[in-house]
């Protein structure tokens, strides 16, 4: 049933209609978030103006984790159902997730220097996020490492699934181990421990990041589908009607040629 709901042609139609809306919404929300974060939000009573780094650091961290979860779920779906969109979604999302993780690590370092007195420590939270970054890079490298792209996709999917164990480690690292990193102050039992004047701009920035992600994801998935169609066209002179055709397009040696 899911296969019927999410066939590539329908995806192209729906995502094409939604793309400008997500693009526009992310631009507006990010602009609002930036003004709020840099101008309106008050300085923290302990951390002063340096707290403004939080408004990019924390949303980037949330996205780094959520996008990885999406890559893993899509990879699982690709392994089980062999649905072509699942693979494409995972591969389109991975570089975006790697980008968010990089932003999280870099801004965290820039925040750590004035607050902790160090750019980096090898503690549980920081190290597990660095591992997440390498998981993204490993997935991207593995997917592109094979001549036969379907084998690369399968190997990448397996890596993405195994890497899921890292997500709870990141989330709970601040509770399980002694670390310089502070424990969760928003997503925690008993509600956020952060004041609304800082929480609201944080949530606006997080929404902006999420909208930007969806826009990028649709854009990159559409790119992948266009490229797939173009590859089939240049091989056979017609677009792939069904999945069997696109499977043959990957290994032209087996193809019987245009009919």
């Amino acid at each position: 049933m899911l296969t019927r709901l999410a066939n590539p042609a329908r995806f192209m139609r729906v995502s094409g209609a939604l793309l400008p809306w997500f693009g526009g919404a992310s631009a507006v929300v990010l602009a609002l978030g930036l003004v709020w974060s840099l101008l309106i939000a008050p300085p923290d009573y302990q951390q002063g103006e340096s707290v403004r780094i939080m408004f990019v650091h924390v949303p980037a961290a949330w996205m780094a984790l959520s996008v990885y979860l999406l890559v893993a779920v899509a990879s699982g779906g690709a392994l089980v159902s062999r649905h072509p969109l699942a693979e494409i979604a995972a591969q389109a999302a991975a570089p975006i997730g790697a980008g968010f993780t990089l932003v999280c690590l870099a801004t965290g370092s820039l925040w750590g220097r004035p607050m902790w007195g160090t750019w980096w420590v090898w503690d549980a939270r920081l190290t597990s996020v660095l591992v997440l970054f390498f998981l993204y890079l490993g997935y991207i490298a593995l997917v592109n490492a094979f001549d036969d792209s379907s084998r690369g996709a399968r190997a990448g999917s397996l890596l993405a699934l195994v890497g899921v164990v890292n997500l709870p480690i990141i989330k709970f690292s601040v509770d399980w181990w002694n670390t310089l990193h502070q424990p969760a102050s928003v997503l925690r039992l008993g509600g956020p421990s952060i004041d609304n004047s800082l929480l609201l701009p944080l949530l606006v920035m997080a929404s902006g990041f999420a909208l930007l992600f969806v826009w990028l994801l649709f854009l990159r998935m559409r790119t992948a589908l266009n490229e797939k169609k173009a590859r089939a066209l240049s091989l056979y002179g017609q677009p792939p009607a069904r999945r069997e055709d696109s499977a043959r397009a990957r290994s032209p040696g087996l193809a019987t040629g245009p009919t």
Binding site: P43, G48, S50, R52, A60, T223, N226, A230, G237, P239
Partner: protein, 57 residues
């Protein structure tokens, strides 16, 4: 100091706050630009092939 200069100074944390925003803008903006260009190219290539083969859309 003018109000603008005070804001730029970020209470002494300018050297950390501004690079943090610059990194975020650079990485995410770069990702958006790269993805957008690649998308435009894929649309152009596909359109050219479809004209060439007279294929249905």
């Amino acid at each position: 100091m003018t109000a603008f200069e005070t804001w730029l100074a970020m209470g002494g944390y300018a050297a950390f706050v501004w690079p943090a925003y610059a990194v975020a803008a650079g990485v995410l903006g770069g990702l958006a630009l790269w993805s957008w260009r690649r998308h435009r190219r894929s649309v152009d290539v596909l359109a050219r092939l479809q004209r060439q083969f007279g294929a249905r859309k």
